[in-house]
Amino acid sequence: MSSKKNISLFNKKILIQALKESFYKINPLQLIKNPVIFIVAIGAMLTTVIVLTGLLHGNYSSFNLQIAIWLWFTVLFANFSEAVAEGRGKAQADSLRKNRTQTQARKRQGNKEVLVYATDLKKGDVVYCTAGDIIPSDGEVIEGIASVDESAITGESAPVIRESGGDRSAVTGGTKVISDSILIRITSEPGDTFIDRMIALVESAKRQKTPNEIALSILLSGLSIVFLLAVVTLPAFFGYNLNASGQPSSQNLSLPVLIALLVCLIPTTIGGLLSAIGISGMDRLLQRNVIATSGRAIEAAGDVDVLLLDKTGTITLGNRMATDFIPAEGISIEELADAAQLSSLSDETPEGRSIVVLAKEKFNLRGRDVHQLNALFIPFTAQTRMSGVDIGSGQDSIHQIRKGSADAIRSFVQNNNGFYPQKVQDVVADISRQGGTPLVVAADNKVLGVICLKDIVKGGIKQRFAELRKMGIRTIMITGDNSLTAAAIAAEAGVDDFMAEAKPEDKLRRIREEQANGHLVGMIGDGTNDAPALAQADIGIAMNTGTQAAREAGNMVDLDSNPTKLIEVVEVGKQLLMTRGALTTFSIANDVAKYFAIIPAIAIVLYAGKNGAGPLSLLNVMNLGSPQSAILSAVIFNAVIIVLLIPLALKGVQYRPVSATSALTRNLLIYGLGGIIAPFFGIKIIDLLINLVS
């Protein structure tokens, strides 16, 4: 993850823009998308009208005015939260498309070349890009090879190779060709590139609600209806009791008081923050350099319970490394290391280099000048299946040092009339069984020993898998290795299952099997032959270095092309759902305290004794100053809590990789119990302040 993309929560520019936006968003057409806040706006409007007509008739009510003001603030605060989230998301997205807007492209028309604006390019157009050009839109290289600087989107400064055919043919709009030239076929319509789609996901006006958001909105609307009824029927109940206690019906509840009660009861906190939570979820993905093509995808990420992980790059470092020298009988380990190092000095393969490194680390053997030794490097060929050096000058004094597969060295030694010891054969078998690759070293007719090459499992990955297991996510390692090797690495890395000698169609089959058993599967891939599996998986993350086919098939693109990203994406998805649940619980739990503030305040007149306080004032457990201040405090608390929770909505609740039960216990204590208790204190404090001021 590139840190440059972390935007401070208190970025001034975004906040000022968001403040303006909060007022624009009072537009009813926008508000109606959020039923809870829409109800608040209607209430605010009605209260304002009541205040104004009151003024016209000469009876000014400061209480009603304050209620009206705070109701408007509630609407503004909700708008503000959405605007801040939007602003942050846009800032991320803008940094991605900065370069693109004014780009001109050399479009091929027949044999001619015409200059057009990047925004005018259509799917299927072919453009020519040469060194120094900015690639105008997402596309696929159809001819040529070039190095491309993708730092604009990935933050990685090293250029990458893009060539026609093969698995590295996709290019992204906004990146820059730095050498050679290529022909690109544009693969997306204007305004429909990955980045455009991403931007649409963080702009509330264009944003589609995700399935879980829709379900939650239904819940919030339903609760609002319940409370609307509880409030609408209240004057009837109240009127009955006024009548019964012989009080005039003019003492019945006023509309502003009823509206205040309604607004306090409906779930304004979660209602106000819901879209901010959704947008900031996308934003957190962007921070990790992952572009999602739909909001649905990020939710599904939270549900994924099976991860298909490629061994190479995800679980292991990618190349086999020498880990051990095992000398043959009668040979010292130094002798073996020396020979192994000599044979590998000119070997530029990662395996060869790792042997040199191991020799240096273990026996402090430094690099030697190959020319001084008069050494002739013998490279690896498919026929000999060995590599090595010939040292020395003159026909007789030449030493032949070779390393290679056990079979190849056996025939080499036997051809030199040497003896291939059984003990070495045992060591070779042993290493194979443990998932390593044995390389046997020989000098002329003598077997010196075995070098053990191993896949190195990434540091900390075992811990990561254990965490995933706790969260109920199963990991499956995919590898082309034989099952012996695969089993050994799987055990070392701590994955739950593995698929050895896996072909792309095996992946697809496995995904279908898992899905048929009710699992949701996530995978990451790059090649064209991964595309069917990426499309079939519930979460398919395509690497940005991959082919266009893969990028189209998946529902996310990882700009860093880092296979471990899959795990982070799952975490972002879970955190998003948790934040929604936590704030919904908090919002509903808040209502208990609000009832205890408002009901005694409004019912104080019923069956009032000589002191003017009716029996229900006993429910005033917070001992609030006056009925007016009680109602006002509840309304103010209700508005202010939205602002206070914006940082939480944007950052998400604290996420820990633990089991469902412990996550639930923790969140329940904080947001459930806390949600019941906190407003009692909050309302009391606001009430004290109000009574202090007046």
């Binding site: 609760l223 009824l229 509880a230 009791n241 919904t584 639930l664």
Partner: protein
């Protein structure tokens, strides 16, 4: 409260916990059509029923067809009962020569018995002929309970089946639960009750000379057979007006104990059956525990309120309106059970409960009768609350909420809310209407908050399909007969239809296997959550109404003011 009473309460609950798995296991065998000990004896009756009705028991249907069958069956039952009441003076078995029932009372009663509410705006001995009581009311007592079980079974199939439309066969579910469960239990129970002295005859009413020399007419009738099912099927409609406070319905302490116990028996056992059918007996016990805690809490509050006295009576138990044969503890244990379990029979007048004990009864009604609740109905109502709980809290584990492996999505949430909203709307809107309109207020016998409680209770009882009355309210008027009838219809089918829709939608889904990332629904945390959601959602909806009824009455009582 005496030690003896305490022992009786403990025995009551111990027996409930002990019999739950035994009867629950038997129900399980009946519902999944496994061989059980009653099959050889009654199998012929089941087969005969299918033959007579032209039913293919192997044919299953989707939720719409299932629900349509249910509605059709209930509608025919309603029509039959409605017409029979209107014509009863022309029909046989009417030794007391009662007249035809008024159209609005007949409507109310027909709806009431069809919906398993058994609200009685009439008084049995002066209104209904033996024929109507037996063929009309008692039959509905059986089939309305069986209807509740059928809905529950469809819901269970929705939860356990994968990617299918089929939810079973309504007629088979109805037949099996009637023949193997309700009939045998009711027959057994009515024999025991007759042994205790509950009357069962076709005599005409007896005129006797009392000790004070006056003449009194004593009603007779086939009571025991109706009382057995009225208790077992969570119906509650008494043979006589005084219900189980009447010595012919409830003659001895033993019959009182059994009748109380019968209220909770089947609803409690169904939690075990549910657990077993959904593959987690532990989950069944979890639901049982949540219900049990709510029941116990209500009982404790009520007992405290009754025994604690008030400034007017001093520190004496409130005996006014209670049956002296049974005493306070038995009256309260009954009132709590009958309102929790959607039964509605009474052995004391709820109008005479202390305000807080009255409130507990009202809360039981308003929560939608999910504390054990009606036969079948209580459990599917509870599942509605479970789905709501799972949805709200389930998000907090970081996954799309799921219940028993089925994802809870927009459609389920929508249906769940409708099922919770409709009865609540009915209670609030009708109560508001009645408390400000002339026909609503004209029926009141008490004023002040107590009068308000009477109205609130009546609509709570109707919408919750409970059927018990706070009394003190003359409900046999056109206004109340129609309003309460409507409330009962919405309270019943406004829940059944959304539940069926949920069942249909869940059956179509795949099932996610359980892992450590799954939201657990079988531990103490879930029990606490479920209770919390029920109380908060129910409480928030009705707190203002309760504050202006029983709560304010209680506070006024503490100041020595009564109504």
């Amino acid at each position: 409260m005496t030690i003896l009473e305490l022992i009786q309460v403990i025995l009551f609950f111990a027996l409930l916990i002990g019999l739950t798995p035994i009867l629950g296991n038997f129900l399980y065998k009946v519902f999944i059509a496994r061989k059980h000990f009653l099959y050889p004896a009654l199998g012929w009756l089941e087969r005969l029923t299918y033959k007579a009705g032209g039913i293919n028991p192997d044919e299953e249907s989707n939720w719409r067809t299932y629900a349509f069958g249910l509605l059709l069956f209930n509608f025919i039952g309603f029509l039959f009962l409605f017409v029979m009441q209107l014509l009863q003076s022309h029909l046989p078995l009417n030794p007391a020569h009662v007249r035809d029932v008024s159209w609005h009372s007949a409507f109310n009663t027909a709806v009431s018995f069809m919906t398993n509410t058994n609200w009685q705006g009439y008084s049995g001995e002066t209104t209904m002929s033996y024929l109507v009581q037996m063929i009309g009311l008692t039959v509905q007592n059986f089939v309305s309970a069986a209807t509740g079980i059928a809905v529950l079974l469809a819901l269970i199939r929705g939860l356990t089946r994968k990617t299918t439309e089929q939810l079973g066969n309504f007629w088979v579910d109805l037949t099996r639960s009637t023949i193997y469960v309700l009939l045998p239990l009711a027959i057994l129970f009515s024999i025991v009750l007759t042994g205790q002295g509950v009357i069962q005859n076709f005599h005409s009413y007896q005129t006797v000379q009392t000790l004070t020399g006056k003449t009194q007419e004593i009603p007779m009738g086939p009571a025991a057979s109706q009382i057995a099912i009225k208790q077992l099927g969570t119906n509650g409609g008494g043979f006589f007006n005084a219900n189980s406070a009447h010595p012919f319905e409830n003659p001895t302490p033993f019959s009182n104990f059994l009748e109380m116990f019968a209220i909770l028996l089947i609803p409690a056992s169904l939690t075990f059956t549910y657990g077993k059918m959904t593959g987690s007996v532990r989950h069944g016990w979890t639901i049982f525990t949540a219900m049990f805690i709510l029941l116990l809490a209500g009982l404790c509050v009520s007992l405290y309120a009754e025994y604690h006295g008030n400034p007017i009576f001093g520190n004496h138990a409130l005996m006014e309106g209670k049956e002296t044969r049974f005493g306070i503890t038995n009256s309260i244990l009954w009132s709590t059970s009958t309102t929790a379990a959607s039964n509605g029979s009474v052995n004391a007048m709820h109008d005479s409960l202390s305000p807080l004990a009255g409130m507990v009864a009202m809360v039981n009604l308003m929560l939608g009768e999910v504390i054990f609740g009606g036969v079948g109905a209580g459990l599917y109502g509870m599942v509605i609350f479970i789905i709501l709980t799972v949805f709200i809290a389930g998000l907090m584990v970081g996954r799309t909420p799921e219940y028993l492996g089925k994802k809870i999505e927009a459609f389920e949430v929508q249906m769940t809310l409708i099922a919770i909203l409709l009865p609540s709307i009915v209670i609030l809107v009708f109560t508001a209407w009645a408390s400000v309109s002339a026909p609503g207020l004209a029926s009141l016998n008490n004023n002040g908050p107590h009068g308000f409680s009477e109205i609130l209770y009546a609509f709570g009882s109707a919408a919750g399909n409970n059927g018990s009355a706070f009394a003190g309210l003359n409900a046999n008027t056109v206004f109340y007969n129609l309003a309460l009838g409507t409330a009962m219809l919405i309270g019943r089918f406004g829940v059944i239809l959304p539940v069926m829709a949920v069942a249909g939608s869940l059956a179509r889904k795949k099932s996610t296997p359980v892992s450590s990332g799954t939201f657990r629904t079988d531990n103490w945390l879930f029990i606490a959550l479920l209770i919390g959601i029920i109380l908060i959602v129910g409480g928030l909806t009705f707190f203002p109404a309760l504050a202006l009824g029983p709560i304010i009455e209680h506070l006024l009582l503490m100041n020595g003011i009564t109504f």
